[in-house]
Amino acid sequence: MKRRNFLKTAVVGAIAGSIQLHHTKLFANNKKQEDACDLVAVMGGEPVEMYTRAMEAMGGMGKYVKRGQKVVVKPNIGWDKTPEEAANTNPDLVGAIVRDCFKAGASEVVVFDNTCDEWQACYKNSGIEAAAKAAGAKVAFAHEERYYREVLLPKAVRLKSTKIHESILDCDVWINVPILKNHGGAKMTIAMKNYMGINWDRRYMHANDLQQCIADLATYAKRPTLNIVDAYRIMTQNGPKGKSIEDVQMGKALFISQDIVAVDTAAVNFFNQFKPMTIADASHIVVGEKMELGTTNLSGLKIERIRM
């Protein structure tokens, strides 16, 4: 009897172990799977349809979000501005991503940002709070230091430790959803710069070599499983807050990649068609490559370009 029990346990354990192994293996190798592409670029559609097409090309949300996982969707909600002013991520896009996560079996989806303007006005007027809640997400508070916890960044050069929002620390996967904008300080704000909203102390980053700190923050071990760049409306001047609707161009594009440096490089190249801009100017992207966060060499990647 004892022996039988032992065998039973061993078999069950082995199965469980192999499933576990299989699971992690899948996860780690996502990027290198032969059938998937490294970067998808879509243009010419509305935010949600572009997203849907791009996600199909990326192999579907089920590849990135597993059943029962806690997911964070992190848009840019930095400013007390309307969607038309293009200072914040498109709310329809955020809603679509949240729904997709639930479809893939997410147990919980959290949306938040550490805003620059008064947080309740940002959450409301960006339309993101309403869109996220309508899609079933929880909209987390992020306006007080107590919602953040200290994290060490061993690979960082200047930002050796920082306080990161608890919902990022406690989630299984997170999806980075920036909007493409010009930026007075960092030159561009896309996926890497969007990390500043998971972090509490902005001033430290500004005072300690902003471009380096942006790259440092992106070395945080839990990388986003996807970076989805909203380039439907793009702010080409007076960014990141903008003065008026005059600062906005219709980009009608969307980029997705797991490689944060690649997606930022692609977005800068796209932006360059509206206003001259290089990754050398937005130097945190170059620093990011040096710190092995991804590649700026797009020609080495498998890219799918979709026109709608």
């Binding site: 670029a41 243009m43 007390d80 620059c116 303007d117 008064e118 309740q120 006005a121 007027n125 929880k138 987390a140 508070f141 306006h143 007080e144 230091e145 107590r146 919602y147 930026h183 007075g184 300080g185 960092a186 030159k187 902005r202 001033r203 430290y204 500004h206 005072a207 300690n208 070599d209 902003l210 471009q211 380096q212 080409t236 001047q237 007076n238 990141p240 807050k241 003065k243 008026s244 005059e246 600062d247 161009q249 219709m250 980009g251 594009a253 490089t265 692609a266 190249n269 796209f270 932006f271 360059n272 068609q273 509206f274 130097s283 797009l298 890219i303 370009r305």
Partner: protein, 498 residues
């Protein structure tokens, strides 16, 4: 009897509702939760009186009509300090002689000082403003503390609110005011209202002539004196069967206490009762006339453009947008702290000496913990006087409360030769903008003062210490040029660019 019971109960219920509404308005720590209650503040006597200067007559007329109809019902119904006192009144009383000399001297002093441009006595004695101070600085922190305890229990529904302390003296002062009010009301009922309070004294000049008044039926009265004992205003002389209407706050306690049903609330204009005449003694008449004359003279002096007797203010003090100037704010602000409570960014705080000694407790802006939101004019919406004038949002966006100054040698870009741009990033009008700095490849901020509104976003976010960009106050607020819209051609792109 039943009628009086109903009247008293309705008065108590209504007064508690008004009290709760005003208290909530001040002590609520939740952004935008108080919006619908702000009109309640406009029905307070001093704000209503000051409102006359802004062309708002309805509130003042309503209050005068109320007094002319029912006597000093205001003191038992609308005044939050009145209701606060009633919560602590438990004692038995006895008739006491009025302190007319004290009360009218105070009233005259307050009025004359205000007319001469010295607002401190008014703001120190206005019951409404004192209640504001208690509610904002004592009740407010308690509400905040309870909210934060509750937010630990329900972290997804209730958000944390950081405690941002005002100055220590403000807490001590608010505590002292509360203790004085509660202590005096506990020992002597409405003594404060009938001796110190300028609003009570002023309404007491009208109430003897009100339409409805309590009257003692001399035949039915058996001199049991229970009415005197129940009168928290200590104004019923049971022996003489006389009521001092200048002190009666129309609480209905006496009618309900009288076992003989000898006290009724009746139309007094039908037959003129003798006691009204008796209440106004010769000496009091003379005194009132001379005080009235003095007040009139002071009013003439101000109207003819005489200089105001006010201490000079600190030119670095930033007044909230809509306050127009230090002088304007000092003239009309009673330091009720409504704007302090309403500011979503919590940048408005009472200042000790920022407006000179007579501008004690008046609101001033500091950018240590936040900046003035571009799309917000809450302070002007809640201000019940015209101290912070109601401004449309588009108009407020051009009010220049200060101007940002850039000090290059403190700037991160100069010192460390790295990118920063935090100030430019936060500037809502783009008065702060980035220019290439030499051939370093870096960009450094510049300030276009004409477009700057002094909102302090740049100062708040600037990471250096001392700040490389800081707002210099405008003692008299200016008007900024509207932001220049930089039109751009819509570019049609049909390539990805990579």
């Amino acid at each position: 009897m039943l009628l009086y019971k109903i009247l008293k109960r309705s008065r108590v219920v209504l007064s508690l509702l008004v009290f709760a509404g005003i208290a909530f308005c001040f002590a609520s720590v939740w952004i935008k939760a108080t919006h619908f209650l702000a009109p309640l503040l406009k029905l307070q006597f001093v704000p209503a009186l000051l409102g006359l200067f802004a062309g708002t007559f309805w509130a003042c007329i309503a209050l005068l009509l109320l007094t002319l109809l029912f006597g000093r019902l205001y003191c038992s119904l609308l005044c939050p300090v009145g209701t606060l006192q009633d919560l602590f009144i438990r004692k038995k009383f006895r008739y006491r002689k009025p302190q007319h000399l004290v009360r009218y001297t105070i009233l005259a002093f307050v009025a004359i000082c205000w007319l001469l441009g010295f607002t401190l006595p008014l703001l120190a004695l206005d019951p409404y403003s004192n209640f504001g101070r208690i509610a904002v600085h004592l009740f407010g922190p308690v509400v905040l503390w309870l909210n934060n305890i509750a937010s630990n229990i329900a972290p997804n529904t209730l958000y944390l609110i950081r405690f941002i302390p005002a100055s220590n003296w403000m807490y001590i002062l608010a505590m002292a005011i509360l203790l004085i009010i509660v202590g005096i009301s506990f020992l002597r009922g409405r003594l404060l209202c009938n001796t110190i309070c300028p609003v009570g004294s002023f309404l007491g000049l009208i109430s003897p002539f009100s339409f409805f008044k309590f009257a003692i039926n001399r035949e039915a009265c058996n001199h049991c004196n229970v009415c005197s004992k129940k009168c928290k205003a200590e104004c019923i002389n049971g022996k003489e069967q006389q009521i001092d209407y200048s002190r009666c706050v129309v609480c209905f306690n006496c009618t309900l206490a009288c076992k003989q049903d000898a006290i009724s609330f009746v139309n007094s204009w039908k037959k003129q009762p003798k006691q009204t005449e008796a209440a106004l003694s010769k000496g009091r008449r003379f005194f009132l006339a001379s005080v009235g004359g003095l007040t009139g003279a002071a009013a003439m002096y101000r109207a003819s453009g005489g200089t105001s007797l006010t201490a000079s203010s600190d030119k670095n003090t930033i007044a909230p947008p809509g306050a127009r100037s230090h002088e304007h704010l000092k003239k009309y602000c009673t330091a009720c702290q409504a704007c302090v409570a309403a500011c979503p960014m919590r940048i408005i705080k009472p200042t000790a000496t920022g407006y000179g000694l007579d501008g004690w407790m008046l609101p001033a802006i500091s950018f240590d913990r936040g900046f003035c939101s571009f799309d917000c004019n809450r302070c002007s919406e809640v201000c019940p006087t015209l101290a912070i004038e109601r401004t449309a949002l588009e108009e407020k966006k051009l009010i220049q409360i200060g101007k940002a100054r850039f000090i290059p040698r403190y700037c991160v870009v100069t010192k460390d030769r790295t990118d920063c741009g935090a100030c430019d990033e936060h500037c809502p009008t783009k008065a702060v903008y980035m220019l290439p700095w030499g051939d370093s490849g870096l960009r450094r901020p510049q300030v276009d003062e004409e477009h700057c509104i002094g909102c302090g976003a740049c100062e708040f976010i600037c990471p250096t210490s001392p700040k490389a960009i800081a707002v210099q106050a405008q003692v008299v607020h200016g008007t900024a040029l509207p932001p220049v819209l930089e039109k751009q051609e819509q570019i049609n792109v049909d390539d990805f660019g990579f």
